[in-house]
Symmetry: C2
Subunit: 361 residues, 2 copies
Amino acid sequence: MATIKDIADKLGISVSTVSKGLNDAKDISENLRQQVLDTAVELGYTKKKMRTASDDKVCIFIENMDYKKADDFGYDIVLGYKQAAFRAGMSVEIEETGPDFQAAHRYESYILEKGYKAAFLVGFALGDPWMAQLGSTSVPTILLDNFIKSNPNISYIGTDSEEGIDMAIAHLVALGHEKIAFLDGSKDSMISDQRMRAYLRSISHHHLPLDPSMAVYGYFVADAAHYHVPGFLDMGVTAIVCGNDEIAEGVIASCKAEGYSVPEDISVIGFDDIPAAASMVPPLTTVRQNRLEIGKCSFMILRTLMDGVALSKNLLRPSLIVRHSTALARPRVMVRRHDSKDSVLHVNPRLYDEALKERQL
Amino acid sequence: MATIKDIADKLGISVSTVSKGLNDAKDISENLRQQVLDTAVELGYTKKKMRTASDDKVCIFIENMDYKKADDFGYDIVLGYKQAAFRAGMSVEIEETGPDFQAAHRYESYILEKGYKAAFLVGFALGDPWMAQLGSTSVPTILLDNFIKSNPNISYIGTDSEEGIDMAIAHLVALGHEKIAFLDGSKDSMISDQRMRAYLRSISHHHLPLDPSMAVYGYFVADAAHYHVPGFLDMGVTAIVCGNDEIAEGVIASCKAEGYSVPEDISVIGFDDIPAAASMVPPLTTVRQNRLEIGKCSFMILRTLMDGVALSKNLLRPSLIVRHSTALARPRVMVRRHDSKDSVLHVNPRLYDEALKERQL
């Protein structure tokens, strides 16, 4: 259990200043007071007096995502959400869920029963039982990376994939790369589709070679890489952009297994900036999703939904974190050493054709 | 100058209750207090005590849009923005602007000079002098219907055109319409492009005839209609969706001039729900942009930008307002009476091809 001293130590301020912040004293700046409150939430300080003024509570449902340790993907999302809720005088409950639990409880009944004013859904899959119920719920709800049509009580939050992929490609182009492949996540994920379109548009925008066998779907795991990387290498690519950081980790491993160095021979870029990205070998250049911001914004947008304002799509700016997995392009001789793989799932032909048409104009 | 009694009368509550709301008394509900504050802002009540606690002020720059009277398009946008700012203890200044003014003042210098914390830009055109300066400004800024790449201090707010056009087409399909034309606004407007894509996708989704001469760009004014409507009528369309309400008004006039009744022969749908839409003859069925929500959300998103959270794209849900310009489709005999017009600007071939490809999948 954290103490006032822990908060003071973390912020490098005195215990009495922390105490002022927690007790809403007038003689510290608003900015410092907010930092004290945010840190109290982060450290799990729970003195009664600090509790929220109202009994209002909101929920975050987490499926299929770790969040308890500081280097878990969901940690900052949960923290940002709690911090924003706490500033607004609301408390947050975290509920882990899954398809079985959802099949056993109706979404709206469960929310009512638990007394939540609103909910944030993280890590849900399109086929989850609750997803089908969201089209008509009256509970203010925000989803990370999933969109529900028509219902004014539901909102979608995510990171702007188009801008993120643009940043990655522009960075590679500045380093002299011309043959840039894309290993995306799973087909039929909304996020994969966004990132594939973004890749095709960006490649087209830079007048680079647009070859459908250089843009393929895999899965959102490292293992996807070894099915696709040998083919990319045969084609003579000098850079590989990945649908997320796990895929990038697999791509680096596959390049090494095939006798190529990263970044000397091949540059690799991820997406997300998971905590592990900085300690990969080499440290990964990647497009960062700011997870603390995702958490904060999600609460702020829920407030607007609770006020009856139907914000439906909300995208955060990504940023490019340049580490050591990208370098100047080294000219490569193209050698086809592998047989073509029938199992490769190429870019959706519709998206490819779109990109070709855009180029023609 | 509005009095406490005006506020009381408008809300149907007592003067003493209004007074409690304005003076932050504890014995009225938070909800009622907010209504009192919103109404005070709406009526322009300006008692000193009610002034904002801080000296923080934000700005709304308005170009090329009326906002002073309740039936002006910009009225609710300004009102919602002021109400949200007032709840947060900030005051709002309204500045009318234009290209000449912008050419004479640098954006950032002007904001600093006037002491604004943030700004909302409404009605700006892509070629405006300030637009080029927004890529690098550090002033938290939100734009209605314009997007600026990369700068984390800038955000875009608008209404979800795709969902709005979907609602319009679905309504017409339910009434039995199959040949549905689209008269869009100006080419090279981001909004026109969004709405054109949305039309093509929706027509494709409903497996209706997709004919490039049924989807054309005009201008965002009523006069655009008479160049295009005769051609649509010759093609045998039974419904015309329009890029905004002014265009729809022109379309109705052109249909009448050509001897067709709306909605008996031709159904017409607008976009925006401007105040005049309800009193057109016939009253216009249209996709509503909720302007009060646009105003409120714009301020709320500026708050997140001021907090350093880079929300970049934000879309509000539209709603379909069904009035009397749409009716059951009446089968029509197709008669070509007019010569084809060379001046007609057809759908962008790239968008049309995209739509065709999507259909093929």
